[in-house]
Symmetry: C2
Subunit: 136 residues, 2 copies
DNA sequence: TTGATGGATTAGAACTAATCCAAAAAACTT
DNA sequence: AAGTTTTTTGGATTAGTTCTAATCCATCAA
């Protein structure tokens, strides 16, 4: 790609977020390359490794802004840390608590049926399936 | 029941936990009556309301010991708080983030199929399904 | 019983992930 | 470039949880 910033730039513009240096850099780390799962701490380390100077507070702000803008999904698997997922397709996860690693399960072939209706006054926001792994 | 302590006592003995005053009291709050979902903070308040003097540290210890002993299940729905569930049957949950309330979904009629095999070197510990609710 | 022993409880300190804050910097507008 | 608004930042703060070290108590042996 001749102008590697273009894609991220367009993405930020599309959701109405100013393309600041930090958001561009974090956006590139998140969205260039394969789908990925990150924690705030993890992304902060990635940024550091990539020689991008960003404060942890900004990493948190950015992750939440991206999530609110629909660029990321938050995945709850661990009481005590939040994971963010760049894969926006409907899908589920393997979670290995030993490594803290998340692995996507495409929902293509997964079938779920028989869930009861949502209680009065509520509707289903989404269904999260987490397959917890353990040793061997 | 003539001796309301007997049941809890037997339960603690069965898993090799000493029947201390605190464990007995918390056990009664958890296991007498309907299935329930509690947070550490919540159980601590329940204990206070029931005139049982227990420190928060002991509530945490006890919840984890009960979990490790298989008397409770931990449910991860909220980054930042742990819920414990007295219902040990295979089942799933509705979660309403507004109220923080968990509702059991008996897994009887829920069918799930098509999950891929666990990655090399791991096996499935369990499958958690959380149906996240939102406003009407 | 009584005393010894090792697990259990406690208050408070420490820790971790996350959020808040006020000041400084950067991005837009004109 | 000047002025306005948004963003970033480091440090302080918070919430939930775990740790620590002193004390307490359930159990067991005598």
């Amino acid at each position: 790609m001749q102008r590697p910033f273009e894609k991220i730039l367009a993405r930020l513009r599309a959701v109405g977020l100013r393309p600041t240096r930090q958001r561009m850099a974090l956006g590139r780390l998140l969205f260039e390359g394969e789908d990925c799962h990150v924690t705030a701490e993890g992304l902060h380390k990635m940024a550091k490794a990539a020689e991008v100077r960003v404060s942890l507070a900004t990493v948190y702000n950015t992750l939440h802004q991206f999530k609110d803008a629909g660029l990321l999904r938050e995945v709850v698997v661990d009481p005590g840390r939040s994971y963010f997922d760049t894969n926006l397709d409907e899908h589920h996860h393997f979670f290995d608590p030993r490594s803290g690693e998340l692995i996507d399960i495409p929902s293509e072939h997964v079938v779920m049926a028989g869930l009861p209706a949502a209680p009065e006054g509520t509707r289903v926001d989404r269904v999260d399936v987490v397959v917890r792994l353990t040793e061997a």
